[in-house]
Assembly symmetry: C2
Homo-oligomer: 219 residues x 2
């Protein structure tokens, strides 16, 4: 048997099956939808199982505990959250880079508001399961981008506000449309799915960013 060594299904990794993978995906999707709305403690695993079309016991076959499932969802979603930030790089014009970032973030808020809400809930709980990531990967990435913004500042290509706040405010404005979607819709009757509304929001955010990064010297 040649296959023995390079398909390490021994002990650690169970043999991956078509149905198995499909089920895992469906569970993760259903779990994200539920967790993002009702939080960890407010979600029952039998609800998730029902949404995914499985029995509770069967769900527990794929994820041993509710917490493990929650962690898996969190991990899978993290990359989606970080990825747009990576794209701010030194090779671009600052204004174009920021505009691109804002657009990406607002698109993410429109296309996957659950991801935004999940992280918001987790952070608001005190991020007991993300504290490592916030202090680790996220901080490293943010520090790098802050350094880049400071570099642009030194070159006089963007304004003088503390870069951290610029990032925070971009996050805040874009994620607001995901996290507070109910309120936004309740007050305006519209959604980011409405292209005109999306464009309004985008332009307002870009104006705000311009005010922070490229605004006129306020004398």
């Amino acid at each position: 048997m040649l296959a023995g060594t390079d398909s390490p299904q021994s002990a650690t990794a169970p043999r991956t099956t078509a149905t198995g993978e499909a089920n895992r995906e469906r569970i993760l999707d259903a779990a994200l939808a539920r967790f993002a709305r009702t939080g960890l403690s407010g979600t029952r695993i039998d609800e998730i199982a029902a949404d995914a079309g499985l029995s509770k016991t069967n769900l527990l076959y794929y994820f041993r505990t509710k917490n493990a499932l929650y962690l898996a969802v969190l991990r899978r979603t993290l990359e989606m959250w970080l990825e747009p930030l990576r794209q701010i790089d030194a090779g671009r014009d600052p204004q174009a880079a920021l505009a691109h970032y804002v657009t990406r973030k607002l698109e993410a808020a429109r296309d996957c508001p659950e991801a935004s809400r999940l992280f918001a809930l987790e952070v608001m709980r005190g991020a007991p399961m993300l504290s490592g990531m916030i202090a680790g990967d996220l901080k490293d990435l943010v520090d790098a981008k802050v350094a880049l913004l400071r570099h642009w500042q030194a070159e006089g290509r963007i304004g003088v506000h503390e870069p951290h706040h610029l990032l925070f405010h971009i996050w805040a404005m874009t994620q607001h449309y995901a996290d507070f979607a109910v309120q936004v819709e309740g007050l305006t009757g519209r959604t980011l799915d409405d292209p005109a509304f999306f464009e309004q929001a985008l332009q307002a955010i870009l104006a705000a960013v311009s005010g922070m990064a490229f605004g006129p010297p306020k004398d």
Copy 2:
């Protein structure tokens, strides 16, 4: 007995006592702190009772159910949230009015982040207990302020972005420091309690608002 009629302690309202009122206050304070961090379902009423220095049974004497307590906390907090918005009125200079509003909101985020978090959690759940208020009082107030902003627009005293977004973004940026305090502190090592940090945040937000409301025509 003259007093009989105008102190209506008959049937409906139980006689209000010093200890009773004090306990109610302590319970509401403790409940706000807990609910704002772990949400409705994630909070046990015996935790709240312990924080307030009472037994669980005794807490249930003052608030019949967990839900009733949650609602009471929500109601008591709502006014704190709305009040700054009321102060934007036609009698002021637009720029001063907006700057004042932003300052008030950021102070609220610093001085009572729990209130902000409580509402954020509730809205993210879909606001099942606030839907009435969002569609009612809040919408009326927001509509009125939006009308005022439109009036200022017509007079050419502020910029041309849709007023709703201006309000949303002010809420988003200010509340971000309360709702995501853990993340902000994790990434910067600082808090709004640090006066210098507060001032940085405030100036950045004011610059953003200027960009939206008083920005240069982007030609």
